[in-house]
């Protein structure tokens, strides 16, 4: 990559206002550094993967409204977590957290556990219990 080939795609939405450092070759064939404002191929890749998360959040939201899943799953996805990460934040076994995905189990959780989930997701207990808030 030559210095003048370092991409400056402002359309790359992933970069917003920042510039990353790239290594490129100058006219004498020596390496130097050059900031890049973004590159379309990787911007699209990132956007597509975010779209996928959005899609999944929407699907899960419906399932929570239909009482097939507990709100915990919704907030887990919203925070881009998976079961492993969430269980680690909660300090609980994965199978235990997975049980809380069932609405019936979730409704019977003690205040202490509920508070901990709310804290982990950085939301209030009311929000945790009702995802429309």
């Amino acid at each position: 990559m030559k210095v003048n080939e370092v991409p400056q795609d402002k359309s790359d939405p992933s970069m917003a206002n920042w510039k990353e450092l790239c290594y490129a070759v100058d006219e004498n064939g020596n390496y130097t550094t050059q900031q890049s404002r973004g590159w379309e191929p990787k911007g699209i890749a990132l956007n597509k993967s975010l779209e996928l998360i959005d899609e999944r959040v929407k699907e899960i939201k419906l399932k929570v409204i239909n009482k097939e899943l507990s709100p915990i799953v919704y907030y887990m996805e919203l925070n881009r977590m998976d079961l492993t990460v969430l269980a680690d934040y909660m300090g609980k076994w994965k199978w235990l957290v997975k049980r809380h995905f069932k609405p019936a189990v979730f409704n019977n959780l003690g205040t202490k556990t509920i508070n901990k989930y709310a804290n982990t997701f950085n939301i209030s207990v009311e929000q945790l219990k009702d995802i429309s808030l």
């Binding site: 990559m1 920042w18 990353e20 490129a24 390496y31 590159w39 990787k42 890749a45 597509k48 990460v85």
Partner: protein
């Protein structure tokens, strides 16, 4: 208090922190040199490990390994500490800052407030340097950022104790002893040898062989798992190859810069020629990314495009095999 610390933007966080910390201690080592001596270039395919619902692919070794190898090869002693709770972690950090020692920290990315939202994932092996404190605000030099930034003590505590894979557990590190004379020649020789051995390793998922395995899979994916999933997988490969940290072309350009510097230090013109060669290979990686992005952008239904991308990757593997064999010979 504020330590007189020079912030240099880097492509990759780990090399950047090493380079900035060593430079602060009077041993100016560039990012490419740190990357090369730490044998940073790598390839591994982990089809059984799903990251973000796609098979794991990495163009770099395990987090922390570059630093570990570099300090071993240069004889630099690094003090590392992990903590059980935030209070002791904070006190230990403050004490070092009071003694005018800039400290490297391993942190989680998700709660880094200065990161753009799109990059905030639960990735826990990011590195930055704390170089001072003003009341309740820490002064941060994050190597991938343009300039220095700040975090409040609450924010810093959150990222130091992020949870999940590679959780940092408050880990901090700083050099405690550096040999008077760094034997760069010996370190570079060892580093290049180990890089070549890894890239040419007789292991199906590592190095050149790993690339071939991915190339073969790309051809099969559209029929096996459908076009939508294939596109997601391809997107993931391009992200690993190009996203912040790689300096472009899956680290190939940083490695080119390293070989150029190494050629001067070792007085070996052959390395300069090889630097040119890996730069061209890096350009082909970029072409590969462009072709792959066309596929996932348009959601084209033709399987033809996928075999073309697959062939391109196969060709890259062949070229890299030749390259690393030459590189190994050049230093003996």
């Amino acid at each position: 208090m504020e330590i007189d610390f020079k912030h240099n933007q880097a492509a990759h966080c780990e090399n950047g922190v090493i380079s900035n910390l060593l430079t602060h201690n009077g041993y100016p080592i560039s990012e490419p040199l740190a990357f090369g001596i730490g044998s940073g270039i790598f390839f591994v395919y982990l089809p059984f490990l799903k990251i973000n619902f796609a098979p794991g692919i990495s163009f770099r070794p395990m987090p922390g390994l570059i630093f570990k190898r570099l300090s071993k090869r240069l004889g630099v002693k690094i003090k590392r500490q992990k903590f059980r709770n935030s209070i002791t972690a904070k006190t230990a950090l403050d004490e070092l800052l009071n003694n005018n020692i800039p400290v490297g920290l391993q942190v989680g990315v998700f709660n880094l407030t200065y990161f753009p939202d799109v990059y905030r994932f639960h990735f826990n092996a990011h590195n930055l340097v704390v170089y001072g404190k003003d009341k309740d605000t820490y002064l941060i030099s994050d190597p991938i950022m343009d300039t220095v930034t700040t975090l409040t003590s609450v924010e810093l505590d959150k990222v130091r104790f992020a949870k999940g894979a590679f959780s940092p557990k408050g880990q901090m590190y700083y050099p405690i002893s550096i040999p008077k004379e760094l034997d760069l020649k010996k370190a570079i020789k060892r580093a290049i040898r180990s890089t070549c051995n890894e890239m040419l390793a007789p292991v199906p998922i590592v190095g050149v062989k790993g690339m071939r395995m991915v190339a073969r899979s790309i051809k099969k994916w559209p029929k096996k798992i459908g076009v939508k999933k294939t596109n997601h997988y391809l997107g993931q490969i391009v992200r690993m190859q190009e996203e912040i940290g790689t300096g472009g072309g899956g680290f190939r350009f940083i490695y080119g810069a390293f070989l150029e510097e190494a050629s001067q230090i070792m007085n070996n013109p052959e390395l300069k020629a090889l630097s040119k060669e890996i730069t061209e290979i890096g350009d082909s990686w970029r072409d590969f990314a462009i072709d792959a992005s066309r596929l996932y952008k348009n959601r084209s239904k033709e399987f033809d495009g996928y075999s073309k991308v697959s062939e391109k990757l196969m060709l890259l593997a062949d070229r890299e095999e030749v390259f690393f064999k030459k590189l190994k010979k050049s230093i003996t």
